[in-house]
């Protein structure tokens, strides 16, 4: 048996914005992998026939959604300072991918329970009044059809949606909401948009929107995950 090298798991917090939000998880992983080589980061490689660096992302992020708080855990062979790793990675990452923090974690990704999203909605109908109707549309059951590997599944996601707020400012609607990240209760913000498009077809016909994940919380939905 080959003895395993000493290795250190480091948590990297990063933002994913601009054009990069249209890049899938798999493609992000390839980008990160090449950045490790560019940065000459002492990453640990798996043993075996096809050695590769090991890293995990915290949560899935839909293509088209940007994020201010993504996490990945990476494995190093040297216990470098977080600030040093931040510097090395930022020099090697494309501009739309920025490391905001790096530290040796004491928690697990499975402890994440909720994520907060901000949707900026532009619509010719945007107004204070529409903001109110959007919140009304989310009051009560929110029945959606969830696509999964096993097929289409009708589901009421209302229990997994919290703290929805909507304001009208500078000609656009700013909609904030907390959505569950549980393994079987993960709510994609797309479901809410679909629901709103159905409930308010005229107002959403010409609407365009951006989605951003702004914060991640523990199970309680209050304490910020680190």
């Amino acid at each position: 048996m080959v003895s395993e090298d000493e290795r250190f798991e480091l948590r990297v917090k990063f933002t994913k914005k601009g054009g990069l939000k249209y890049i899938s998880h798999l493609d992000l992983a390839r980008t990160v992998r090449s950045a490790f080589l560019r940065a000459r980061l002492p990453v640990w490689y798996t043993l075996g026939f096809n050695p590769h660096p090991k890293f995990n992302f915290s949560l899935p992020l839909s293509v088209g959604t940007s994020s201010e708080c993504e996490f990945m855990d990476i494995m190093l062979t040297e216990k470098l300072d977080g600030s040093k790793v931040t510097e090395m990675l930022n020099a090697a990452f494309p501009p739309d991918l920025r490391v905001t923090d790096a530290y040796y974690p004491t928690t697990k990704f499975s402890q994440i329970g909720w994520a907060e999203y901000e949707l900026d909605i532009t619509s010719p109908y945007a107004s204070d009044e529409l903001a109110g109707r959007i919140l009304d549309a989310l009051d009560g059951d929110i029945n959606i059809v969830k696509k999964s590997k096993s097929g289409m599944k009708p589901m009421n996601i209302a229990p997994y949606v919290r703290n929805a707020s909507c304001t009208f400012a500078d000609g656009k609607l700013i909609f904030r909401v907390l959505l569950s990240c549980g393994e079987n209760t993960f709510v994609n913000p797309k479901y809410l948009i679909d629901h709103l498009e159905e409930a308010l077809p005229t107002e959403f016909a010409d609407a365009d929107y951006t989605t951003c994940r702004t914060q991640v919380y523990y199970d309680d939905g209050v304490t910020v995950f680190t």
Partner: protein
Amino acid sequence: MRIPEKILKKVEKPGRYVGGEWGQVIKDKKDVNVRFAFCFPDTYEIGMSNLGVRILYDIMNKIPDVWCERAYAPWTDMEDYMRANDIPLWAIESSDELREFDIVGFTLQYELCYTSVLNMLNLAKIPLLSADRGADSPIVVCGGPCAYNAEPMADFVDIFIIGEGEYAMTDLIDEYRKYKSGMSKEDFLHEAAKIEGFYVPSMYTVEYNPDGTIKRYVPKYDDVPMKIKKRIVADMDKSPFPENLVMPYIETVQDRIVLEVYRGCIRGCRFCQAGMTYRPVREKTVETLNEQAKKLAENTGYDEITLSSLSISDYSCIDHLTDEMLKWTDDRKISLSLPSLRVNSFTKELMDKISTVRTGGITFAPEAGTQRLRDVINKNITKEELLRACHVAFAGGKTQVKLYFMQGLPTETDEDLDGILELSRDVIEEFYHTPERMKRTPQVTLSTACFIPKPFTPFQWEAQCDYDELIRRQRYVVSQNNDRRIKYNYHNAAVSRIEAVFARGDRKLCAVLSEAARRGMRLDSWEEFFDYEQWLDVFAAVGIDPAFYANREFGEDEWLPWDVIDVGVSKEFLLRERHNAHAGKTTVSCAEKCSGCGANKLGGECTWCPKTKDSN
């Protein structure tokens, strides 16, 4: 980003359109005097893999006041949204519209991209015809392998760059600066036509004979050349090669470092255009290559390097190069790969060294089924060499071999088609004669392409088989194959026929392309969009017989549409080689003896060409 979010959210692979990759060049517009849009008339995934684009993007962006950006053909879903929402085609880096650029350049990698070039101009709202583009439109230039005979594109293109672009692009930009400082477009094109390697089609009028063949080319001015000489890079070691690449987010066709080892080919297969047009052979030294590879690996973070050339195993220092590179690539978990191998260079040592050879499939290209036909095409490999190489592969644990052939080659008979299957059966036999073989059933996959006569090859005068005959020969092989261990794949004969038409086309085909563009045809290199019936209909509509170009034997004394280009290799040599082919006589490689092709007159530091060595 100018593309509305709601469109990006709906299209397939939005990563194709957003840019922002590591290594892309962003400049401040106020420091920029010349803006160049480098367009690839196919999808992002294909265009991002092109080595020529990588080299020229780097060269142009190294000039401080020049900004070279990229543009690709949108996929049809995006095209529909663009047309519905009136969004003109834009360049990736700045998101600015193509029509705002100074120069719009296309690389012509294959004939079937012509419709996509026109569709991209149309999407960019740039007038298609050169004559319709005034001072407020960009200059449209084209280069790449098809520029050697792009007469079917003559009406649409202002300038063709003939040959290698490394130094030609700077000449183009310098000339453009003069144009911008006050010169008519006509004067600019006239001046450009005098630069070596610059073919300005509007500077020549073409006269035809009553039978439709070309009578002659008449230059518009006395001081534009009768023949445009191909540009080459004399010294490959000093030739600019990028130290950085744009790193695509989404997976591309060649998602790795492509290290160009040398240009040209010493072999002289008589059907091969690249083998002739890239002459004379010029190598880089091991030191240069190792240095370039190291820098690229450091700067890009790619973990795979492909050693690229027309016939990589003919590189005179291939063992030394791979040894030097393996000294550092293994440590950095970088793998080496080779694109194609000749059977005589396939050895156990190589198999152990090169990871893709170790893990991937094995492909050889005998090209023809019998020794007679292999002699005709000058593919100088024997059955014994092929079986020896397969033996090595089988002993090394392989059970599958892919074999490439061409069908419809000049002088081909059904006996040669039988030979394809016989050779495949011999390979299967060889498997059972390999004591170290795996305990599995062997598999031979045959892939056959249809022969397409190409300009600047000894076969440039040959007729392509009629369409029905191509189909018959494919069906014949299907009917003769009763071995389940032999799998037979063949190319679409209709695609090959249209390719043949445009490969040997003249300016009369501009009308065909105009009509194709009017009908919105594009992405013809994609099987799902290629529509043979539609093409035949287009030819009929403009009154042009495709058989005149594809299925006619061109006269040896005929003025060929590409005779206006001097590619280095002489017409006399090509003719001699054609006659050798029909006499079944082979010609040895440049390494053994100079066959007098004429390319040495272009100069260049090269290893193999004895004549050039003498003159240096």
